[in-house]
């Protein structure tokens, strides 16, 4: 009984037992396909994100235009992902330069912290109830690309939308395979610490651009 661990656990174990209550039924919301998509979009837009409906083939072109219109000089991307390959392969001529996040952060910090204007990531899904993107970083697609640059561009497939987080966790079997870091993103970085006045981009991205790939390609 010498360690704090043992003493704390001993005290907790000596406490009178209370029966663990059953968790009463609770049903997260469910939507039909059309409502699901509409809700996903409107919730994201309500949290100040920009949602564009795109197709599986035209999205790199569409993105090029969006970024050019915003005057984005540099976008970091993950060269190892399928989306990254498609992006790099079809980028061609554009005022926006693509920079690959292909080495450890220690060698890339400067680009991340002060040089990149935008970061591009894929998503593992979208959640209609709250308008959230599920980010599931991998060795190919690191964590910081969605966070440090002033603009975050995220690619979501309509087919990956679920109604609620509860459904996502079950449907995608999260409990058995949590990654180093899973993140839900619902809008750009914001704060209301000064007189409850909303301000965007306090530490993370000021803008969130969502490319939503329809289930039926036009």
């Amino acid at each position: 009984m010498n360690s704090p661990r043992e003493r704390i656990l001993a005290r907790l174990k000596a406490a009178p037992k209370a029966a663990a209550p059953l968790r009463p039924d609770w049903t997260p919301p469910a939507y039909d396909a059309a409502t699901r998509k509409a809700r996903f979009k409107s919730m994201l837009e309500a949290s100040h994100a920009d949602v564009h409906e795109v197709s599986a083939t035209d999205w790199p072109e569409r993105l090029k235009t969006i970024l050019a219109n915003k005057g984005v000089g540099t976008m970091i991307y993950a060269p190892g992902t399928d989306a990254g390959k498609l992006l790099a392969g079809s980028w061609g001529d554009s005022p926006t330069r693509l920079v690959a996040y292909d080495r450890p952060v220690e060698d890339f910090k400067d680009v991340l912290v002060s040089r990149a204007d935008a970061g591009f990531t894929t998503t593992k899904g979208g959640i209609a109830q709250t308008g959230s993107l599920v980010l599931w970083p991998t060795p190919d697609e690191p964590r910081l690309m969605s966070l440090l640059p002033p603009i975050h561009v995220a690619l979501v497939e309509e087919a990956s939308l679920t109604d609620s987080l509860a459904e996502t966790i079950r449907a995608q079997g999260w409990a058995g395979q949590m990654p180093t870091n899973a993140v839900l993103v619902s809008g750009p970085s914001k704060t209301a610490d000064i007189e409850q006045t909303l301000a965007y981009g306090v530490h993370g991205p000021k803008e969130l651009i969502v490319l939503l790939i329809g289930s039926v390609s036009p």
Binding site: L12, Y101, K190, A199
Partner: protein, 478 residues
């Protein structure tokens, strides 16, 4: 001595706060807004009722299995590569954090928002040992610049208005012009903190929920500073109270649906960050080492009482303080301790002792507004009454730290006399007669009367008692 000063503090400080029109206005505006936003989120009463029942059960379940779940959490964290430490006291927790930082040669630390590190006074401890902690949550950054403590558990600088913050930034940030434009102020903080993030040797964060099933730390926030603090530096230390554990990943969604909606009226926070391990082989970013510090600091004692245990269900949403007629008028600093408002006056005396913070359970009207909005159904007013009782009539020894500390000889004597008076018709009759004759001669400074009359007019005894008047009218006593 310390106990004595603390005891006097709430009442005295409350008077000062009540006479501060600026503070009153800052809180009024903020709390009115938060109440309206929360109400809009829970307009569907059926949904609120079932979600809340689920949320309360999830937390009660975790507390019923607390020791087992902590062991499971520890084992799963270790399996995932997270190093786990246990601390009985805040001093131990501070020493653990400092030890980890020193072993890593860390000199600068970037912090995400964390109430438990406020509870530990971690910043002061680190500074004393030559380590510079920088708060990165905008609200925390503002109060760190001002050298103050948080006045609210979700919105730490809610007591300040734009002009005060503009002044502060102008004073403390080199080259910052005076501006009350919120976007410009926010941009100034972003610019000032970027370098701190990039240069930090370590990041420190709190934890909202720790999932035993998977060994996952869930952190929620809007700014992204929490994600940065836990991703950019090579070392991440998470600190949490031992009560924050949940059994399953499935337990996260209902609580996540309750917390931000209760707190700020948002459907969800911008970021929900789930950390399960340090950087793995082949990954390009994330800290190379993650540590989890589990802090007791009296929580296991609270857990030892099956009634008071409900206190530990708290998910720190702050809805109770936003709705408390006392908190909304006096603000968080009046409470003198880390956790203000209804949850504070319930938690603080249990962690610090009734001898130290025994006045806090009295700083309540028992109007039940806190209980009505608490998303995990903590019966705060009932537990406040229990603590009031404990301070004069302790139940089982050791159940509450400092129980019995408010017992006074005069009061005990007073109650004994009262009992005597009411138990014998003769003494009662003589007593009331005497009070009718001489009661009004009693000075308001008399023992026991003194406190009562400090905020009330002294009661005036009628020359004749009700019994006498009734008898004169011809009613019979029996």
């Amino acid at each position: 001595m310390v106990a004595e000063t603390k005891k006097l503090e709430f009442g005295a400080k409350a008077h000062v706060a009540l006479n501060d029109p600026k503070l009153r206005a800052n809180f009024r505006r903020a709390m009115d807004g938060l109440m309206t936003k929360r109400a809009a989120q829970f307009a569907d009463v059926a949904e609120w009722t079932s979600l809340r029942a689920r949320g309360a059960a999830v937390r009660a379940n975790a507390l019923a299995k607390l020791p087992e779940l902590l062991e499971q959490l520890e084992a799963n964290c270790r399996k995932n590569g997270i190093q786990v430490h246990w601390a009985e006291t805040t001093a131990e927790a501070n020493a653990i954090v400092l030890g980890i930082l020193e072993a890593a040669g860390a000199k600068t630390v970037i912090k995400g928002k964390s109430m438990v590190t406020e509870e530990m006074h971690l910043n002061a401890h680190l500074e004393k040992h030559g380590i510079t902690p920088v708060e990165s949550d905008l609200g925390e950054y503002i109060i760190q610049l001002a050298g103050e403590a948080p006045s609210h558990i979700v919105m730490p600088c809610i007591h300040k208005n734009k002009a005060e913050i503009a002044e502060l930034f102008h004073d403390k940030i080199a080259g910052q012009a005076y501006t009350e434009n919120v976007d410009e102020l926010t941009a100034a903080a972003r610019a000032a903190l970027r370098g701190a993030f990039a240069g930090a040797d370590a990041g420190i964060s709190g934890v909202n929920f720790a999932v035993a099933e998977t060994g996952t730390l869930v952190l929620i926030e809007n700014e992204g500073n929490g994600r940065l603090s836990t991703t950019l530096p090579p070392l991440h230390i998470a600190v949490t109270g031992i009560e924050k554990v949940l059994e399953k990943l499935d337990d996260v969604p209902p609580l996540l649906s309750l917390l931000p909606r209760s707190a700020t009226g948002q459907p969800i926070t911008t970021y929900v960050n789930m950390i399960s391990s340090p950087r793995k082989e082949g990954e390009k970013d994330g800290p190379k080492a993650v540590h989890l510090v589990l802090l007791d600091n009296g929580r296991s004692r609270v857990h030892g009482d099956t009634e008071l245990r409900d206190t530990l269900r708290c998910i720190r949403c702050a809805a109770c303080m936003n709705h408390c007629p006392v908190y909304t008028r006096v603000g968080g600093h009046t409470y003198s301790f880390t956790y203000p408002g209804p949850i504070g006056k319930l938690l603080t005396p249990q962690l610090e002792g009734l001898d130290c913070a025994g006045d806090q359970p009295h700083a309540s009207t028992l109007c039940r507004a806190c209980a009505d909005v608490c998303p995990v159904k903590i019966p705060i007013p009932d537990l406040l009454v229990r603590l009031r009782t404990e301070s004069v009539r302790p139940t089982s020894p050791g159940a509450v730290k400092g129980a019995g500390s408010a017992t006074s000889a005069t009061e005990t004597l007073g109650w004994k006399g009262w009992t005597l008076l009411y138990a014998s018709p003769l003494v009662y009759r003589i007593g009331t007669r005497m009070l009718g004759w001489f009661g009004n001669l009693m000075p308001s400074s008399a023992p026991m009367l003194k406190q009562w009359t400090s905020v009330r007019t002294k009661p005036k005894f009628a020359p004749k008692s009700l019994h006498e008047l009734a008898r004169e009218k011809g009613f019979c006593d029996e």
